[in-house]
Subunit: 385 residues, 4 copies
């Protein structure tokens, strides 16, 4: 009974937490969005055959591969979706682009700024669509915030205040995992969490000019788990537990940023506040459907932050789901992004956030890391050019 739609055949590399989130979104996007292009869950790829086979079956992929190069080489794949650990992003993305596949890559784009620039170059030279998964932009609340900022409702922005607070690592007995290895992850909370805050800040307040910050590791040794191949009983944590920095923006705004895995009671506290000459917004991913807005032009005596439930038709994406007041969750950020990506493929458009956004984000990450070493302010422009 299916009417003919154009299809984009997905090949996804990796299948853990992000693999689950992406897979679910491919399944759900045609239900909620009436795109001209539909995703086909063609193949999934992982090194452990038993595990990837099970994942394919569980999540609804048509086939699997154990070698990502083979996946990229397949004719029946149009888009490569990269959800591997960070150190594999660049090699895979560049190979995919050279093979003429569209590329959808998890954040942070790469381990180093240099790698990220090569990824962008490869994608542009091969004229493929390139997208980075900064999914938090795709909450109705953040899209709505962008819209009212663009309309001038907040006026010129003075302050950006972004915190990404988690607490899963606060127990000193929590074991070593790949996210704690610099070789595999590049960084800790910095690339994992601050990257998201940087993206939201760029989305809402424009480009960074310079930064000064510190990367801090509170617990420097952690117990090894059995799965670790090493004989050691404990491992050295060589990534940051927390990232803190100050920023100046091109627009003249100033910002404070903080990302940590040691903020007890904050399970996923991705918060951002902006203060402008005419108003303010506040948002917290833990209450992602709510946007707080202050408008200074409100009648005297009736000024105060409004708590807006961004679940109405007027709020971006929200009309695709449920009636007002019926909330959506974390997974819908992926569905919304992928709906846009399918439309971009259909229209042969660029879309944001793309690898250029990834490079600019990586430049800020790199600048903070450099600043943490040199204890000096670092200009972003110098790194981008």
């Amino acid at each position: 009974m299916q009417k003919e739609k154009k299809q984009v055949r997905i090949g996804m590399i990796g299948y853990k937490f992000m693999g689950k989130a992406h897979s679910h979104a491919y399944r759900d996007v045609p239900f909620y969005f009436d795109t001209n292009v539909e995703p086909v869950m063609q193949a999934i790829c992982g090194r452990n055959e038993e595990a990837v086979k099970n994942a394919a079956q569980k999540m609804g992929w048509n086939s699997y591969e154990t070698d990502w190069r083979k996946l990229i080489a397949r004719d029946d794949i149009d888009l490569i979706d990269i959800v591997t650990p960070n150190n594999l992003h660049s090699e895979i993305a560049i190979a995919a682009a050279k093979a003429g596949k569209h590329v959808f890559c998890e954040k942070p784009l790469a381990i180093t700024l240099e790698e990220s620039k090569e990824m962008l170059k490869a994608a542009e030279e091969n004229n493929v669509l390139h997208v980075i998964n900064h999914n938090y932009r795709f909450t109705p609340a953040m899209q709505w915030a962008k819209k009212i900022i663009d309309e001038g409702k907040l006026g010129k922005i003075y302050h950006v205040r972004a915190k990404y607070l988690q607490d899963w690592l606060m127990d000193p007995d929590s074991p070593m995992v790949w996210r704690l290895s610099k070789e595999v992850s590049g960084s800790g909370a910095h690339g994992d969490l601050a990257a998201h805050s940087i993206d939201l800040a760029r989305f809402l307040a424009g480009e960074f000019k310079e930064v000064c910050g510190i990367l801090e590791t509170f617990i420097k040794e952690r117990p090894m788990t059995k799965e670790c191949t090493s004989d050691e009983t404990s491992g050295k944590v060589d990534v940051d537990d927390a990232s803190l920095f100050l920023a100046r923006f091109e627009s003249g705004a100033v910002g404070t940023f903080e990302a940590t895995r040691f903020a007890g009671g904050n399970r996923n506290g991705n918060r951002i506040e902006l203060n402008g000459e005419k108003g303010s917004i506040r948002w917290n991913m833990e209450k992602m459907n709510e946007l707080e807005v202050y408008l200074h032009e409100d009648e005297p005596g009736l000024q105060g932050f409004r708590s807006i439930h961004c679940t109405e038709d007027v709020h971006p994406y929200a009309g695709n789901y449920w009636p007002p007041g019926h909330i959506i969750g974390y997974e819908h950020t992926f569905i919304n992004l992928i709906a846009d990506m399918l439309n971009a493929i259909d229209n042969r458009d660029k879309m944001e956030p793309n690898f250029e956004d990834g490079v600019r984000n990586q430049a800020v990450l790199a600048a903070v890391a450099e600043s943490s070493e040199t204890k000096a302010w670092v200009s972003i422009e110098d790194l981008i050019d």
Copy 2:
């Protein structure tokens, strides 16, 4: 690549708001839950062929019917899912049960208490699984609340305080719809919203003993829309806009209840509070992932409502989704309920809430309606027996 699983083939009657929510849940449940039984979206039914055909395609149903009796007669259907307007529930459910199909019915179970009793009788006599969709029970927060109450953490319950506040009807120019016709809906906010509050109260605090209340209609005439078949330019609203009642419970607890479509600023404010001899809980569906808990045994000076983000593995259903702090939404209440329903089919168990819950709920609804007429307290037991 699919391993063999048992299947239950669904036939769904109706395809609007609830049809969308149920359809989505059938699609998603195998992704999140590892049930032995998998749902097959076999057929959908509606009177308008063009519309039902489109709905089937959009939502992923294998076939469609335009006559619900034909659907029930099909051999390839194991379970009938009823998402029609309320006045059709009983006839369809009874026919389905007699045909040996499991029945999953939207709330309120029927227009009248008598009908609801007949539905229960038919389901029991034909030995089919019967389930009523009080989906709000299936938030992790409400399931967790039930668990801590059953463990005695709140002690004996003194107070139930339940409000279901919406505001979509507060505009006097909002037109007539089927939900405003007594013939089709049975009641207004009462059966639509108070039914949910009654279910949560029964779930958490046990059976009602007696009630006293009022049903109120603020706007008694509304404009007709073009779709209305009548020649009239305005229609008479003969259902309640708001339902308010007091209750005594079998346990000795007392309660206040309120449901309305005229509470500006409350898009879907399904709130409940319980106070017991050892503690309290507070919850609001608009922030459904959060449960507030007060424990009187907490150390002096450190007593206060805890805001618990029910997104951890320890919270019911939450472990099937995302890491702590990553919220789920309205649609997941349906997925959770259906996962339980599939397991009940697999285990040939009863499940709750079922048609007996539906009858008991309907008895409370009927008692309040009677009380609104007689201006007297009405005993529930007298209606049930």
Copy 3:
């Protein structure tokens, strides 16, 4: 250095919790308000000489008496302030009025409706100022709410939802006190707490038409303390622990009311919500400086409850205190009320809330109590006339 101001010489009867609150307010009012009339703390009265002497010294009263009749007889007293247990209000107030003294009386006005009517009659016949201390009206937030309702910002009111939740009695071992004796208090949570909710509802939404409710006692026996004169080891609680009722207002609005001393975690949760055809308000005394306001005319997408910090010059009384954002507390409600009372004395005006408000409040209390006995709705008008 004092410039000549008119003075009103206060004689206060009682000196416990309310005595402390009133005394403090008399001390503070000249500091914050520039009234033409200044209060003089002339005399305080209590039966226990040692205790009243100490209280006078501690709180700054110029003299003391041990017989309230003597206090009333004194020439140097202009206003009698009654903060005794409820059963003494009427006799004292009537005697004071007959002696030509202004009367300021704690709530509830009396033990019975009949008594309260006699108090009003005595005050009117003797042409003295009569004031009842419903202090919660005198928060800037509630005064501001009144103002925006009077301006029509909420339109016609549909719903009143008032709860007064405390928890100091939830421990079954909490001993007998005078507030738990019907002879002394008249009622429990009903007269103590519901009376406040009734006053706020009347203030904001107008007169009650009819009510239906229940008074409930959860713990019927409590241990006696040594101070009790009885030989019994436990005492019978003959007042309500909780009061719940429904109401219809003259305006057509409907309301739910609940007052309890058994709502764990709510230390002083005096909450009220109103929903009107154009907007809503929400307020909670525990966060008394904040008023939440929803305006339906706000731009689509920007609708939501505003959290207004009522600490600006535009908010009633707030300009007498501190800059915006610097909160005031419980005691300031007394200061504000007394400032108004001094102005009323200066201007020979009536002021609200007065004994007529007390009578109307008492009528609602009496109607609910009667309803709890008869299990029927009770008309207020029948009781007033």
Copy 4:
């Protein structure tokens, strides 16, 4: 009727906003606290005779002076209270100490670190009590936080996150005032607001080690008011509108700090969060009675921030006021501090925060200002020694 108490005779210099807050506290402290020493409001001092005379009368001072040197010279003054603009603090405080008077000084202690050190030296050499008015420490919530941190309930502190957000200056047409002149104020938001955050951080998390920050002025010209003596129509703002900095603490904790007068919707948003190895706290002066506490040792599934209403007897100072749930306000921070100061005088104790705290605070302020110039990290210890 007054029993004999020891007295401390106060001479206060200045009488605007802070003068009002101090004066009120002197009036109220004997009412709430049973100290052995009572304050006598002996004399107030200001240059404008008419204004200071009126202030004395309005606020209840026994006499007035127009020359602060005369005030200090008076025999009937025991304590000098300095509430002048910041540039006068050091000269007055040093003169007062040399005259053997106790000194109570507003924050920031001085314009420069050097001055503040001289003030400390003078106070110590003359053996007088010296106190700096960091009043926010004296909320029950912050004192309670200190207590639970000292008991180890949060464990080792990892993060301090302090923001002091105001918005009174966001209007570009808001005129020049003394607080915007560097000569008079020393700095803008930095000394006015960040000084408070620094004090709370020191109080709760110990000494600062090094800082890096920026001071930013968004609006550099403002209109002159008629009161300005200058002929210019606009004035140059030479103080910061906002102060942002990162910090490392001696303990190993890291912190982000931000103070601004441009955060729309935040009237007095003095917020602080701490995350430790065992728990977290959150607090906001706008809701000063509430302390949020997260304890990681709470039972799984019941972990979450508790909202504690710090109005119980167990909470510091709260027992002196009202029953649980009845809030206090901004002015009570002054009353609490002064009660402690009177006890310190009685016991010939030191008290905190004193001029040493003032010096350490000033050192952090100076370090941030230096860092803003040099764009480098600045060590606190180097400045203190």
